[in-house]
Every structure is written in structure tokens, then in C-alpha cells.
Symmetry: C2
Subunit: 319 residues, 2 copies
């Protein structure tokens, strides 16, 4: 692995062709925005390029690939975007391990790619992609590319609300608006719109919310049976549940425990400034950021909840 | 009324003293941010100043006046901020009509003040206040003033999601962050935090949501009995329900019917681009904007719902 800068990354893109761009599984706005912005830019400068994701892309992101041309070719150059670890590529992990370039913003990047363009202090990989594409005079940032980059920046910064939001995040959003990013429909689709199924899912899950430690810890869970019983929900609807418990007044740590299969649970942790949930997740073999982390449990739901709540209460006691 | 520019407004503030700053009733982040930013800046340059509002200030805005000194003096100079019409000052209307200066961003400003500093294309009056204070070299924009100005900008732009958000909105947010605006707690308090009571209220109300017209119309209702049964909810929690039905995928008109007293109901209507709810509300003696309107019914809940849904379905049929 070799760390490279924007100049070298631009040169690398110019000097290579037949790009396979890999976006992480359970795709979010940042990996998709980054992947399709890069794909569009490469096609624009005459390269062959396609962006792929191991998971289906949620319908609400349709607009990010509206100007992408379907190209058939034998991939020669693998680039990963917003992929901190090749294992986040799920079934495409082996392809990821052969990546010639990784463009990322996760401080936890495992340095699996041959070259790494990393900006660990950026809110979104799309901020870095915007700099990269802006540094290439032959690339024109179209309104579609601006939509892609804005999507990543808005979603990864929690609509400019999270602590990763920097003055630069706002300045880049301003520049992307000037380049034609159509922010109203994007933000409606990303942040406000909910399907009937999602509403029902939230309803059911929240009706069973548990509070611990004088309301400082809140836990919800979602079983496979529940997910199967509600029509029209997707993985993103389920993923979005993770943020809810922490939004309740007085809650320092919000926990969402999701059943992956019988006996296997994945917990998502969100926290206020009063707790480092990455450290908590690490105790259970997981990881993440200080304010958003995750880990897995092979036991019953009740046992997973008990262990997590205990660790969280300990962490809050020390804070 | 005379329109003035930033220079003249700055000169006016310098040349006068004993300022009474009036903020509009049912105060929001923009009027409060604007009022307390101005008050803090005036006190900083040695003027006497106080900011007042005809209504109590919701607790979540406590931080905006944390550096304001309580000063006793006889007001000489009245300034209104973010007040489009003196009648929005409720009981303080007569004071507002004597305003020497109005600083505002509403295109509908009724020009009631002697001098008017107006930027009708700005998302927030706080954008204009930021320009005014920045144009006065003797004013230092402290982190507290930056918090105030950021609050107005973030809230009036719907956290940078509404169509009034401009590139400038983002650029000013970036500058205010550099000046010390502490965005994470502000945004959490403004946009994400919900009390346990509010969550329970939403839960209960949404569990009874009704869809009509193939999901294009969604109706919720909230009775006085329900409001009384949940601890710790306030009028803002109840008011916030109105936005929810319209956020559901496929819903063109969202209706929230609130019981005011037995036999008297108030309906809030929200719509997509596909319907003009002001026109619908007018049929029932109400009014409002095309995308947000309201009207009242003196009948049973079921009858109010039946009449409204019928009128909405008719309106959608024509669209």
C-alpha cells in the first residue's frame, strides 16, 4: 500500500482504462455518490468504466446513475470508493483485494489497496472525490455529477448536522449547488420521505423500546420475522432504525439490535458526546466511529442486549 | 418607510442608543437568533439593548441569550427583526408600529417601519444580520453570536433542505462555524431531539393512520384526551405532527386533525406539488399557503375527515 495525493490519483486515472469501480455493500449515499460521480467523469473523458455494488441499490438513489452509460468490457483497473475494508464488499471481496486504488475517508481504512487516497478528516468520501474531479481540468462537473457528490456529502454529514461536518463540507455543498446540484428533491428523498412499510416498521419497533440507566440508554430490536411481515421495506429502512433511539431526549447511547439469522445479531450503537461507542463495540469484536459503531453477537437477543447495556452503562459511568 | 442598505443600517446602530429589539410571536430560530445576535453585538459596542418577544421562548433556545446582559433603561430606539408585519408582534404591535428600523427577509414585509433593511431572497433574516454585523468593524462576532446566527440560518432553511437554501446559505454556515458556532448541539436540539412523550404521541397517532385515494391522502388525528394522557408534551410536539403524513411515500396530501374541544376540530393540510391545499382549506373557511394550510370544523371527527378527504380527492382528480 502506498498513500498517494490528488495529483497522483488524477494521473493514475488518466493513465489507466477499463475501470471497475466497487462500492461497498449495504450501499449508502456516499459510496454510491462517489462511485457514480467517478464513473460518469471517467466515461466523460473517454474511459470505459462501470460502477458495481454487491447489493441492490435502493430505489431512492435512482437519480445517481441517470447519466451512466452501460458499457461492456473486460475490467483492467479496480478502484474502490468509500470502502474502508475489502470485506465490506461482501461477495466482491476478492476483487477488492486486487484494487489498484482506494479512495476513502475512513480513518479505519485497512490499507488493502495498492494505492490509497485517504482524507480521514473529511465528512464524506464525496468531498475528496469532488477535490479529485475538480483537480482534473479535463473533467466537467455536470449537474448529474454534482447531484452524486452532493448526495454523499449531505448523507454522510447527516444533512450537515453531525460532528464530522466542517466548514469545508458547507463550502463544497455551496459549490455543488452552483454546479447544478438539485438539492430539494435529493434531500426530500434522502431525509424526509418514508414508505408506508417503513413507517409501520418504525411503529412496531418503537412500540417495544426499552430504556435503561435512567433513560440514558435506549434499545430497540428488529427481528427477521418482523422484517418479513411488512411489505415493501428494504435494508435501508431497517438500517435507518439505528439512528432513532439516540434522538430521544436524555439518551446518551442508542442501540438497535438486528437479527441477521437465528442466533446471530448485529448491534448498531449511536452516542452523544458522553460516550465513545467505537470503544464499546471493540469490546465485542466490532468497531466504527466514536459516535456510531457496530458489533455482532452469537447468542440470544436478550443476552446480547444485557451485555451491551452493561458495557454502555459502564462507559457512561466513567464519562 | 425608506429602504436602507447595510452601510446606513450600521450607521443607524452606531448613532443611536437604548435599543428595544422586538422579535415576532410564536418565536422561531430566525427571529430569536437575529434578535439576540443584534442585542449581544450592541451591548458589546457599549450600547444599551434588550431583546423582547411577546411569547415565552421555548427552552430549547436557552443558549441564544446566554451572554446577554439584563439592562434596565428607557427604550429610545425600536428595531424589529424577522417581523414581516407589526401584527406578528401580537400584544407588542403598537411598539412595532413605532419601529425606527426593521431588519427582515420576507418578501411580504408590510413596510411598517421607518427604515427597512430587507433581503427578500435570503433564506433567513440571520443571513442579513450576519452581513450587517460583519460590515461593522467594531463588532466582534463571538461564538455566542455565531451560535445565534447559525441557529436562524439552519432553522429557516430546514437544515439546508428547503428550496430557499442558496449557496450563500452554506457559505455563511461555514463562516459561522469558523467563528465558533457549535453546530452539533444546536442541530440536535433543533432537529433531532424528541422527548419520550413526543415519541409516544407520534407512536399513538401514527398507529391509527388512514390512507385514502390509493395512498395519495393520509390522515391522522389527535384528541384532547390523548394529549392529556401523555406526560411532558407541549404545543410544539403536537404542532410537529402536521408534517408527518405528507412525508410518506406516495402521499400528495397529508392531513392532521386536532381536537380543540369537543365538537371543534382544526385540520392542518400539507401537500406536494400536486395539490394546492390553500384552495381546499378555503372551501372550509380556512386558508394558508399552497403547500401548508389549515381550516376548522364544528362537527364530529368522522364528518370532518369525510368532508376533507372528499375535497382533497376532488382536488387531486383535477391535478
Amino acid at each position: 500500500m502506498r498513500r498517494i495525493d490528488l495529483n497522483e490519483a488524477g494521473r493514475f486515472l488518466r493513465e489507466n482504462d477499463c475501470f471497475l469501480i466497487l462500492m461497498h455493500g449495504s450501499p449508502d449515499g456516499d459510496t454510491l455518490g462517489c462511485g457514480y460521480a467517478l464513473c460518469g467523469a471517467l466515461q466523460q473523458i473517454g474511459k470505459k468504466a462501470k460502477a458495481v455494488c454487491p447489493d441492490p441499490i435502493p430505489k431512492k438513489f435512482d437519480y445517481v446513475y441517470r447519466e451512466i452509460e452501460q458499457q461492456e468490457f473486460e475490467p483492467q483497473t479496480i478502484v474502490t470508493v468509500d470502502v474502508a475494508d475489502a470485506k465490506l464488499l461482501y461477495g466482491m471481496r476478492e476483487l477488492g483485494e486486487k484494487a489498484a486504488l482506494c479512495i476513502d475517508h475512513h480513518v479505519s481504512n485497512t490499507e488493502y489497496a495498492e494505492r490509497l487516497l485517504l482524507a480521514p478528516e473529511y465528512a464524506a468520501a464525496c468531498e475528496l472525490m469532488f477535490e479529485l474531479l475538480s483537480s482534473m481540468p479535463e473533467v466537467k462537473i455536470t449537474s448529474c455529477i454534482a447531484d452524486c457528490l452532493y448526495t454523499g456529502i449531505a448523507t454522510d454529514s447527516g444533512c450537515f448536522k453531525y460532528s464530522n461536518t466542517s466548514p469545508q463540507t458547507h463550502v463544497y455543498a455551496a459549490e455543488l449547488m452552483k454546479l447544478g446540484a438539485d438539492i430539494v428533491p435529493i434531500n426530500y428523498a434522502m431525509f424526509d420521505m418514508k414508505s408506508q412499510g417503513r413507517l409501520k416498521l418504525e411503529q412496531t419497533v418503537l412500540s417495544k423500546i426499552r430504556y435503561y440507566d435512567a433513560g440514558k440508554i435506549a434499545v430497540i430490536d428488529v427481528t427477521q420475522e418482523l422484517i418479513d411481515s411488512i411489505e415493501g421495506i428494504d435494508s435501508e429502512d431497517v438500517g435507518a432504525l439505528a439512528a432513532i433511539p439516540r434522538q430521544i431526549e436524555g439518551v446518551d447511547i442508542g442501540i438497535c439490535i438486528k437479527e441477521k439469522k437465528p442466533g446471530l445479531f448485529k448491534a448498531s450503537l449511536r452516542s452523544s458526546e458522553n460516550a465513545d461507542v467505537a470503544a464499546i463495540a471493540q469490546q465485542f469484536g466490532g468497531g466504527g466511529h466514536a459516535r456510531a459503531a457496530g458489533c455482532a453477537f452469537e447468542c440470544s437477543l436478550e443476552e446480547a442486549e444485557r451485555q451491551l447495556v452493561w458495557a454502555c452503562a459502564k462507559a457512561l459511568e466513567r464519562s
